[in-house]
Symmetry: C2
């Protein structure tokens, strides 16, 4: 366990090259000054996106079944997914880290090292340099990650609440898969990877859909950009869809065949309706998008992984398969 | 205690107007989209400064002697001081908040309300709108604040490690005052305001020196901008000065008369050398700047609150009053 902030910064430097060092040298796209000053200095040459995401022990993860590398990976993945939800290109991130005191819940050097290695591997793949952060002791392991992004080649950042009645609703990624993984891990603890590999990995090592977000923002139809609205589904479709629709509603068509095979099998074998469980979801880090009916073919032609899951309706409320109305999704904060 | 994230967001909305709402409407300088989407969208029209700061119960504050409004104020003040340390103009901030579960350490509605009111009052004075955040439950109260700033009228953001041998070292603000306040509060708990009012207030309600930072960046001497380097002193001069100097050293001249009267009186009455205690400091949120000898008069003429406290030396190490060498300052992380 590093005993001073200085020691800890050396560990950080080992895992994350410091963009913009030495001072004055431009170390990355738009990063004029990296770590080591009061602030980092960035210039994206225009609008940029910023978001902050907490990842806290026993609220968002358990040390009993998350390997340290999983924790580092998922903290950054969850934050970066907010950039994917804007169709943004990553610029940099900052990490605030609270680590437990020494003692029974203390973390040793190799634990922190593995956690940062997991984070650094994802950061490298996403071209997301570490531009700053803060460090403290705390009762439990807690990470807060700030991500900065900018428009990709499309020049656009895509918002929620852009869909209009009649528009198609589009989904990229699996829903319910991480929920199945969480339920299995909570029920059995670690070492259940063999039974439900995709579900477990979806919970421990979600992949932010940065490339999909950038691609969705860039698709052109004959009369303009094809995708009107975009968000990342992190609290479950049931909770996030109303946030995407604003005043409108939706009619969804979601069959068992539309789900990942592990989602269908897992919830069936646990006596739950797979479609309902998938829609409740949580931590899916899928992307939800909207496009007018005319522009839908351009999207489906360009990105085969996109699935049309329904239509926006003027009538409020969300109906699935012409009947069932959505229950609430997932709330990390709620005690219900 | 709000029982869902939705309830909590209503409390947030009551205290902080949402810039950029409704979507598409520009709610503040450079804020194209405020809270309520995956990311906020900002456009500062050029380079911007970003920093993140943790403020955690029992590491940075105690609920026993911090009123809830003090906690909200100081969390934001400490973060905003990093903008002051770049001479930056505030653009916006994001708040990640972990609040204890219900139970003995739970917080009731009025507590959170008072905390946010304290934060909102300072945010209003600094023209720092809340652009986003995240919320979780956690074992103790913890706040992480991200601040965004941009160059002020000077067009400059001022860095550390710009000072050269022979340059004057400048200080704005009191050092050691918050340290005296912390010692008194730790020794006696609450209700000691009457004895050491300035020291207690310096610890509970520090004021980020945004206006001073902007002014320092703007001062012109006949041959160019007068101030070369700037930082905020948050870990004590002893720890922060080497970060400011880089490879160089300094000779400081600091007399008892240069200190706040409460600093001199407090440490004398506790058997400590006031100058040494002031230099150890911690959470001073003073500003440290550098200027060449030729440009010093312009600075002192423009900002009478600036005090010249010494000179940069080619020889490494920091000497005070021709003798004593600095010990280390304050490390929130260290267990020493």
């Amino acid at each position: 366990m590093p005993t001073s902030e200085q020691d800890f910064l050396r560990v950080i430097d080992r895992h994350f090259p410091n963009p913009g060092q030495p001072p004055g040298q431009n170390g990355g796209p738009g990063i004029l000054l990296g770590r080591g000053d009061d602030c980092a200095i960035i210039d994206t040459g225009g609008p940029f996106a910023v978001s902050t995401d907490l990842f806290m022990e026993d609220a968002h993860f358990r040390r009993s079944y998350f390997a340290p590398g999983d924790i580092g990976h998922k903290a950054l993945a969850a934050a970066a997914s907010d950039l994917a939800g804007m169709g943004a290109q990553p610029v940099g991130f900052a990490l605030s880290l609270a680590v437990p005191d020494d003692g029974p819940s203390g973390l040793d050097d190799s634990y922190l090292d593995a956690m940062l290695a997991g984070m650094a591997a994802l950061a490298g793949r996403l071209s997301l340099p570490l531009i700053g952060g803060d460090l403290s002791r705390g009762p439990k392991l807690a990470l807060d990650i700030v991500v900065l992004g900018k428009p990709g080649p499309s020049g656009r950042l895509l918002r929620r609440r852009q869909a209009r009645p009649g528009d198609a609703l589009l989904l990229v990624g699996d829903i319910g898969l991480a929920r199945a993984g969480l339920m299995e891990l909570e029920a059995k603890g670690c070492c259940v990877l063999a039974d439900w590999p995709a579900a477990i990995m979806a919970h421990l090592r979600p992949e932010p859909r940065i490339a999909d977000g950038l691609a969705l923002a860039q698709i052109m139809s004959p009369d303009g950009p094809a995708v009107s609205g975009l968000m990342d589904v992190s609290d479950g479709l049931a909770r996030d869809l109303p946030r995407f629709l604003g005043a409108f509603g939706a009619d969804l068509s979601l069959r068992r065949e539309d789900l990942h095979p592990e989602v269908a099998a897992y919830f069936s074998s646990h006596g739950e309706d797979p479609v309902e469980a998938a829609v409740l979801g949580g931590e899916d880090y899928a992307l939800l998008a909207s496009a007018t009916r005319q522009r839908l073919p351009a999207v489906l032609a360009e990105l085969p992984q996109v699935r049309a899951i329904g239509r926006v309706s003027a009538e409020p409320g969300v109906r699935i398969n012409d009947g069932q109305v959505l229950r609430q999704g997932f709330d990390h904060f709620s005690r219900e």
